[in-house]
């Protein structure tokens, strides 16, 4: 082929429409739609005594008001528990509209459908609800204390207890030359895509068909949920993902109450209905993540080699568990990182609180796990007086040890935790080179002599990416020679239209410009899972590659017949199949598409060539027995298990001696996501992840008060970084260790950038301040408080034995 597209920093095909205002996001659709507003609980924990909607009934422009009483059939049942798990003994999900009880501020109680959102909000304000207050459980301490219960029938507020282990960590830790125990804490943050949730639905009474557009990370998931909840056949429901203004995890949850209520209302009212979530709603009624308390017990030798590790942690899952135990399971397994542990035990409790639900946010439990392990590495280094990189290196899995199995642990996909490939020592070499690690001690000492505080921090991670079960690809060559590609998972800014076209261009031998990719449309791809767990490139990238190969095989077979040559003598270049070494003997893919579909009726010039009096061997059926019409390829990719990307972040910070403000002097990333499809897109993912890491380390937290009110439910007070808060530049070096598990050697890249952020900053601030950091995020106010407490109390949190 002429121009290789894989690995090239191709400009995105999405951009032309998005930079000119021609993108189509959910709220841009169906301008004629009625709009929905939601009455949400103002209380964290209460019984609903009564709901009076009478005042709404006469409001001009209002079309309907619904409460739980109006829900029928499956809609009146609790929303699905999406990922059941045997250990989730007390899983609970909410109702689409609250039945009898509310368990967090923001829980949906009633909806109003009106001519527009203004009128709908007016009407919501007229609904009167009488509550009987119940004591709220807010924060992990309160959940653990269990003096009050979130759900009456869930003792101890414990949704699940789960333990996994290999080896005998108690014996190994007890017998180790050195042992450290300490406690860590990490607070809640959230995805905060710039576009909130949004759903539009239109019921066609003639076709008896429901069309739903939703700002989701899983169109097939929403489709199944809508069909089930509304009592429709799956074949009556289409779900189309329009342009989506960011997801970062929150939009994988489905169905949101609104995602089933909007179609319900559209069907009842016979009018298109739209719900566009506003920012305050996004804070109090979508999802959060991160909040955990951790207890670490580690035994190690004189070199810092871990001999046994035992971790216990408490995970705040919010008021309900629709997404099962995915986040804490990921924490508990990905905590191990790039290290070899002789023995390991992890026990966690997933706890209910009267707060917004907790579901994956980019990183999905890994930032907490990495925090635990990397704080442990730093603690060991500090205890032994060793360089922090040396302690990590001595524990690394070596390149010749792959595939590497961590005992019998099982990962979030229920499959054994086996790393496929990686080169951690080389990654460390590259990372140290990016920041001149070995010279930093001198830099720090010189700064201290000037009265300045600078510090360097490091964090390593391994990220299981590309989890199953499967994704599909469909490649269709049209008679024009244009290639239409479809895959079912969705896009929220990752440039799938570009990256998947790059793959197909190379696999099929067609020009990049001739390829058009569609994602997240159940009319084109009814079988799919969704976009999460850094899986799109691995899963759909592999699937479209396989589908392109299938289409290519058919094209070559047809061409071999037409040109009367052997298939092996053919190649495809720029959409033309030609004989190797004799390029004059050729046939265009478009022509083959014509020939692949024997016709009775001509409808244009090209199709004339395929009609029954024009082509075909009269001795054979027009379509061979084992063939089908059309020049298409379809295939699915379903891996045995996840592939494991890895990376190291190093950050250099300066802390103001007076104001405790933290400024970032340098940020460096080494990143291994296997084969790169589009390095520009991958770097963009890393940049964005790093910025969210900065947010999670230094700025963002969900500040609940003891009554369960979220005190900072706005962009004024939830401090997402502006450009002024992120590093001025991010140094990136790539390492490409291909995965042996998929046809292109891909590993996921989407979440990586955010994962080690909190751990790296804790390490750097600790280095600058010379005292231990055990809780993230950290604000200047908190750092100042730590300085004061360290000045008066030199005792360390760690019990050294």
């Amino acid at each position: 082929m002429t121009t290789k597209m894989m690995g090239e920093p191709v400009a995105r095909v999405e951009d032309d429409r998005l930079v000119t205002g021609r993108g189509r996001y959910a709220d841009d659709l169906a301008p004629e739609a009625l709009e929905m507003a939601v009455l949400r609980s103002p209380h964290a924990h209460a019984r609903i005594v009564s709901i009076d909607v009478d005042a709404v009934l006469d409001v001009a422009g209002v079309h309907a008001v619904y409460t739980y009483e109006d829900l029928e059939g499956a809609l009146a049942e609790p929303l699905p528990l999406l990922i059941p798990h045997p250990n989730l003994t007390h899983g609970r999900t909410q109702y689409a509209l609250a039945k009898d009880e509310v368990n967090y501020v923001g829980e949906a109680i009633a909806i109003v459908i009106a001519d527009n959102r203004y009128l709908a909000e007016d009407a919501v304000g007229l609904i009167e609800v009488q509550y009987e207050f119940l004591p709220p459980v807010v924060g992990i301490d309160a959940a653990r204390a269990a003096e009050n219960l979130v759900h009456d029938d869930v003792p101890g507020n414990v949704a699940a207890t789960m333990e996994q282990s290999f080896g005998d960590p108690e014996a190994d830790i007890g017998g180790a030359p050195h042992r450290l125990t300490f406690d860590l804490e990490i607070e809640r943050s959230a995805c905060m895509p710039m576009e909130g949730r949004g759903t539009v639905a239109r019921w066609d009474p003639d076709l008896k068909r429901m069309s739903v557009w939703s700002s989701t990370q899983t169109s097939t998931g929403v489709r199944a949920a809508v069909a089930t909840k509304l009592g429709l056949d799956l074949s009556q429901v289409d779900v189309i993902t329009p342009d989506v203004g960011g997801g970062f995890g929150v939009k994988i949850v489905h169905p949101w109450p609104e995602e089933v209520l909007v179609p319900m209302a559209a069907k009842v009212l016979g009018r298109p209905v739209k719900f566009t979530e506003d920012r305050r709603e996004h804070f109090i009624s979508s999802a959060h993540e991160r909040g955990q308390q951790q207890h670490i017990d580690v035994g190690f030798d004189d070199d810092g080699r871990i001999l046994g590790l035992s971790v216990q942690f408490w995970h705040d899952n919010g008021a309900y568990t629709p997404y099962g135990l995915i986040v804490p399971i990921i924490t508990s397994t990905q905590l191990i990182g790039p290290y070899k542990l002789p023995s390991y035990r992890v026990v966690f409790q997933s706890l209910y609180t009267n707060t917004v639900i907790v579901t994956p946010y980019r990183g999905a439990g890994r930032p907490q796990g990495v925090f635990a392990m990397e704080r442990t590495m730093d603690a060991i280094a500090a205890y032994l007086g060793k360089d922090r990189t040396e302690v990590r290196e001595v524990n690394f899995i070596q390149p010749d040890e792959f595939p590497y199995a961590h005992g019998e642990l099982s990962f979030q996909d229920g499959r054994p935790l086996i790393y496929d490939s990686g080169n951690y020592p080389e990654m460390m070499r590259k990372a140290k080179a990016l920041v001149d690690w070995d010279e930093f001690e001198k830099v720090r000492d010189e700064a201290r002599a000037e009265g300045r505080k600078v510090g360097i921090g490091i964090a390593c991670y391994v990220e299981g990416t590309g989890v199953g079960p499967y994704e599909g690809g469909h490649v269709q060559i049209e008679t024009s020679g244009k290639v239409k590609v479809s895959t079912g998972l969705t896009t929220q800014g990752q440039g799938h239209e570009t990256a998947f076209a790059q793959i197909v261009a190379d696999e099929l031998g067609v020009r990049f410009e001739d390829i058009q990719v569609v994602t997240g449309d159940t009319r084109r791809s009814p079988y799919s899972v969704g976009t999460f767990a850094s899986r799109a490139a691995v899963m759909s990238g592999s699937a479209v590659a396989l589908a392109a190969r299938a289409a290519k095989a058919k094209a070559l077979r047809l061409a071999a017949d037409a040109l009367e040559v052997d298939v092996d003598d053919l190649e495809i270049v720029d959409g033309i199949v030609r004989v190797k070494g004799a390029p004059a003997s050729q046939i265009a893919l478009g022509t083959l598409a014509v020939l692949s579909n024997p016709l009775r009726y001509a409808f244009d010039e090209a199709s004339r060539a395929a009609t029954q009096f024009a082509v075909g061997d009269p001795t054979k059926p027009p379509v061979a027995e084992d063939d089908e019409p059309g020049l298409e390829g379809k295939d699915y990719y379903s891996p045995m298990r996840s592939t494991f990307a890895s990376g190291i972040h190093i950050v250099i910070v300066e802390t103001d001696p007076e104001t405790a403000e933290v400024s970032i002097l340098k940020y460096a990333v080494v990143h291994d996501c296997g084969t790169l499809i589009n390095p520009r897109i991958v770097e963009g993912q890393v940049h964005g992840g790093v910025a969210q890491g900065v947010g999670g380390a230094l700025y963002e937290r969900m500040a609940y008060d003891e009554t369960g009110q979220l005190q900072n439910a706005s962009f004024m007070d939830f401090l997402m970084p502006y450009v002024t808060e992120v590093p001025e530049s991010i140094e990136i070096d790539h390492l490409e260790t291909p995965s042996p598990l998929n046809p292109l050697g891909l590993k996921g890249a989407g979440e990586a950038g955010v994962i080690p952020g909190a751990a790296a900053f804790a390490s750097a601030i600790e280095d600058a301040e010379n005292f231990t950091i055990t809780s993230m995020p950290i604000s200047p106010s908190e750092l100042y408080a730590l300085r004061l407490s360290k000045a008066t109390d030199t005792a360390t949190e760690r019990t050294n034995t």
Binding site: D15, L18, V19, G21, Y118, L119, F248, R279, G688, I730
Partner: protein, 178 residues
């Protein structure tokens, strides 16, 4: 329960001049300018990210100055020349300098915040045609982006200024952002 709609609230006729075209719309006084642009005029390129003036996604140019369209009422916007992202293409419909720069530099991912950045930067490089890196950062310091980590947006500012200067040299600097 459902009910039949009667009449909604009183509206008044307003004229908004957007991207050089005068539009008429019937809106109640409380209609936010962002909603009027999007839903009454169908100019959905202007996005709404927070509706409290912090994120900058809804930024448009008001007489050439960037302002939050969610912090103005449509009825108050009748005296001004408004420019939205749709109005920043070249006269032939091809990408304007800032739009082209975002594509060249991978300055966007999901694209939701992008229109607010593009309008802001258009005004910024009109005022300062040759910003340095620090000035580029300052220019975009009031807009939130959750995808890009801003690195490539800063690069886009510098690239946009470069394209604009090239345009000026080539004498084809058609008037942008009326």
């Amino acid at each position: 329960m459902t009910m039949s709609p009667t009449t909604a609230e009183p509206v008044e006729t307003i004229r908004l001049r957007v991207n050089g075209v005068t539009h008429e719309a019937q809106v109640p006084p409380r209609r936010l300018l962002s909603d009027a642009l999007r839903h009454d005029l169908g100019l959905t390129g202007t996005h709404v990210g927070c509706e409290h003036g912090v994120c900058g996604a809804c930024t448009i140019l008001v007489d050439g100055q960037p302002m939050r369209s969610c912090l103005m009422f449509a009825v108050s916007a009748q005296d001004y020349e408004l420019t939205t992202v749709e109005g920043l293409t070249r006269p032939d419909g091809s990408l304007g300098p800032v739009q082209q720069a975002f594509k060249d530099c991978h300055g966007l991912q999901c694209g939701f915040c992008t229109p607010g950045f593009i309008t802001t930067i258009t005004a910024g490089i009109a005022e300062n045609p040759d910003p340095d890196r620090a000035e580029a950062r300052d220019m975009i310091s009031g807009n939130l982006c959750r995808c890009t980590g801003y690195q490539n947006i800063v690069a886009s500012v510098l690239r946009a200024a470069e394209i604009q200067r090239e345009d000026a040299q080539n004498g084809d600097g058609e008037e942008q952002g009326r």
